[in-house]
């Protein structure tokens, strides 16, 4: 989206153009935040909590989030569960296959920093941010569905504050 990132620069030169740029920014941000499609990806216990949150009582679909199985069509990856050294290259590959703009929520203790497996483990990657960039860290073992929804709402707030000018791909993960 190289053209879109030059809109604010061009718009500022026109009187009243800044309003167009900020409104465009707001519309694009709101649409991205209200329609996050998350990747069906979960390794361990946190995946069960993610499934619960997507189900009837807590319901992700209220926020417009529903799951896609193919990483090419997903915007958001919940890294839900313990990532071992064996799984790490696959997680990185999935992240790279996602289409930009893409976001990552590190769900649960194991994804944040290794969790309960930080000590005395030969196989657990100590935090998924060692291999992919993370937007929101969500501690818990596992975090309750309400916590997970709070993390999604925080991500939505983060998206609302994104600027059009940062749309060139070297600023994004």
């Amino acid at each position: 989206m190289g053209i879109i990132s030059r809109v604010p620069v061009i718009a500022e030169k026109i009187p009243g153009g800044a309003i167009v740029a900020t409104s465009l920014e707001k519309v694009l941000n709101i649409s991205r935040a209200s329609s996050m499609w998350y990747l069906l990806f979960g390794t361990a216990c946190c995946a069960i909590e993610m499934m619960c949150t997507g189900a009837s009582r807590y319901d992700f679909d209220r926020f417009g989030m529903f799951f896609r199985a193919s990483p090419r069509q997903a915007d958001l990856m919940f890294v839900a569960g313990t990532i071992t050294y064996k799984m790490a290259p696959r997680v990185k590959r999935l992240y790279e296959q996602m289409a930009e703009p893409r976001y990552v929520i590190a769900m649960g203790g194991c994804a944040c920093n290794g969790g309960p497996f930080y000590y005395d483990s030969y196989a657990v990657l100590k935090g998924v941010d060692l291999i992919i960039p993370v937007d929101v860290y969500l501690p818990g073992c596992p975090p309750r569905p309400e916590s997970l929804m709070e993390a999604c709402i925080k991500l939505q707030e983060k998206i609302m504050h994104e600027k059009l000018q940062e749309w060139s791909s070297d600023k994004r993960g």
Binding site: Y85, K86, Y119, D120, S121, Y122, A123
Partner: protein, 159 residues
């Protein structure tokens, strides 16, 4: 259903000097056997009409610092009795016969013990790496004195 005493009596009768009963806890029937008779032992308890133990629940490895203990947990679906079998192998370069020819389910348990403890199972059909990452080169990780890739030891409590 043979009770604990009968099982041990039958086993000791068949393998006089190589099997001895050990006391682990009151509810568990346990024997310690000589590693050389492993295959014959499992063949015996699988086919004997009073024992008929063919369901292998698990095989565990325990690093006892002087040697490695291999513990087999086996039970019978027909008679509903259980047995725990312990053997000792050497720590580095230890070898023991495989029982996967007798009980097919032992295949992956033995592969796991080979991968994580370094115990070789002679006669195993497929002793290759499958749990550890593809580029693992730091030796069997479950040994007590192992350190390696980013390994952080739990600090002592009160320290």
């Amino acid at each position: 259903m043979a009770d604990s005493g009968t099982i041990i009596r039958l086993l000791v009768e068949k393998f006089p000097s190589q099997v001895e009963a050990i006391e682990l806890n009151p509810k568990q029937t346990a024997v310690q056997i000589d590693p050389k008779i492993v295959a014959a032992f499992f063949e015996f308890i699988k086919t004997h009409p009073d024992l008929k133990m063919a369901y292998l629940s698990s095989i565990s490895g325990v690093d006892m610092t002087t040697n490695i203990d291999i513990v087999y947990f086996i039970s019978s679906i027909e008679y509903k009795h259980k047995l725990t079998v312990r053997t000792k192998v050497d720590r580095l370069g230890g070898k023991i016969d495989t029982i996967s020819t007798v009980i097919k389910g032992a295949d992956w348990f033995e592969r796991e013990i080979w991968e994580l403890f370094g115990v070789e199972f002679v006669g195993h059909p497929n002793l290759t790496q499958f749990l550890l990452p593809d580029d693992w080169d730091e030796g069997p990780p479950m040994l007590r004195d192992w350190t390696g890739r980013n390994f952080v030891k739990m600090p002592e409590i009160g320290g």
